[in-house]
């Protein structure tokens, strides 16, 4: 269980998902009202195009309406489940964009295509801010600068290894190693901190 989410909110959202699984439109509306802003923020962060983020959000909720019955409260927090749906859709879209051979390097040097009004926090800062649970934050802080930044950019902006290499101006091999090492350290740290995954 992720400790950062208040239990009552999770219970409420889980109950709504249960009702959505039964085709309850009011529950679906309520679920949307309570989660859409967070999920839209996540989608915007990753795809950085409002129109695409809107499309992804629509697809995600349509999917939730049809598949809410797959949500298993014993296995994950509602927000975790919903966020995974949105993130995976974002990555699917980014992949399609990858296939269209869009070069990121020019864009990366300039302003981002869309200002997500994120209070000016960089992905690395977000990574620390997000790690509300002390053990998670300590683990994130324990990462070296390179791996930490690579993981932050991958997580919050959906950058691939190749895009990370272009963005951070490091060889692809270095980036892959940073990400792998960073994740590995993060895992060992979380495990030893007893953070239940």
């Amino acid at each position: 269980m992720a400790p950062a989410e208040p239990a009552d909110r999770s219970a409420r959202l889980a109950a709504l998902l249960g009702r959505v699984a039964l085709g309850d439109q009011r529950a679906f509306e309520a679920l949307y009202g309570q989660t859409a802003s967070h999920l839209y923020g996540v989608a915007l962060r990753i795809v950085r195009e409002p129109s695409l983020a809107e499309e992804i959000l629509q697809e995600a909720y349509v999917s939730v309406w049809h598949h809410a019955g797959r949500y298993d409260a014993a296995r994950s927090q509602p927000v975790t489940w919903l966020t995974s749906i949105v993130r995976n859709r974002c990555l699917d879209h980014l992949r399609r964009r990858d296939l269209d051979t869009v070069t990121l390097s020019a864009e990366e040097d300039d302003e981002p295509a869309f200002d997500v009004a994120d209070e000016g926090l960089t992905p690395a800062e977000l990574l620390l801010r997000g790690a509300e649970a002390r053990s998670v934050r300590e683990c994130v802080e324990g990462l070296e600068a390179g791996p930490r930044q690579a993981i932050a950019l991958a997580f919050f902006q959906g950058l691939s290894h190749a895009e990370l290499a272009a963005h951070m101006k490091e060889p692809l091999g270095t980036i892959k190693s940073w990400v792998r090492r960073g994740l590995d350290r993060l895992k060992r740290c979380l495990d030893s901190a007893g953070y239940q995954r």
């Binding site: 802003s37 995974s84 590995d184």
Partner: protein, 243 residues
């Protein structure tokens, strides 16, 4: 490759981490997704990492999506009478926001139908029904075909928000949406049309290519009108404009 074999535990965990982080891409991601669907051990590994990383996503600033997102979801799912959670009705219909005019703050769809019952109104009359919350009629506009004047009358308890007014919009075929004028807050309003009503209003909205919002507006207005009236065509929009 059987990822769930105990000898490959480390490999599985590494792939699951990259999957959850998003750096696993292309065919490798497809293969992993497929494996996770059929193999609970793989699914559990992916799930564990998604959960670990999920707390990081909580830091992402929430951004309220435009109301049209919900409208689009409701339309795709065919949800009837769906309002928008926690929003008052002019906000609900505010999915016209983002529309070309900067002054546009909120808006409503009007659907125009040719009245099918000659017993109520002359056959040549055009009737516009503006739906409020719960799809109940809120404003009704009538025009006699050939007459360049539209009469708008409130039939429900419908008021614009403080400092705002409703504005009527026409969606001419193939053309840009056009303002027909601002409505007074109460009473009956007479709105001059740019052309005799039949010509100004009787043609349905025309789909336009993105990125112009009008395409969506037109489509959704048509959806809404269709849902409300079976065969109506959306022709007018109204919007709140800051005074």
């Amino acid at each position: 490759m059987d990822l769930s074999h105990p000898d490959r535990r480390e490999r599985l965990d590494a792939l699951a981490a990259q999957y959850a982080l998003g750096t696993l891409r292309g065919q490798a991601r497809d293969r992993f997704t497929k494996a996770a669907r059929s193999d609970p051990v793989v699914a559990a590994a992916a799930h564990a990492w998604e959960t670990s990383l999920a707390s990081l996503a909580e830091a992402v600033p929430a951004v309220a999506p435009p109301p049209r997102v919900w409208t689009g979801i409701a339309a795709r799912l065919g949800l009837r009478g769906a309002g928008q959670a926690g929003l008052s009705w002019w906000q609900r219909l505010g999915f016209w926001r983002g529309f070309a005019l900067a002054s546009f703050a909120a808006a409503l769809v009007l659907s125009l139908v040719q009245l099918m019952s000659p017993a109520v109104l002359p056959a040549e009359s055009l009737v516009v029904v503006l739906a409020g919350p719960d799809a109940r009629p809120a404003l009704i506009a009538t025009a006699t075909r050939g007459d360049a004047m539209l009469t708008v009358k409130a039939v429900g308890d419908v008021r614009p928000a403080a400092g705002r007014a409703f504005e009527l919009w026409a969606l001419p075929e193939g053309g840009a949406p056009k303002s027909l004028g601002v409505l007074p807050p109460v009473g009956v309003a007479k709105v001059a049309l740019p052309a005799p009503s039949g010509e100004a209003l009787a043609k349905g909205p025309r789909a336009r290519r993105e990125p112009g919002a009008p395409r969506r507006i037109a489509d959704r207005a048509a959806d809404r009108a269709g849902a409300l009236h079976g065969q109506g065509r959306a022709l007018l929009l109204s919007g709140g404009v800051p005074k």
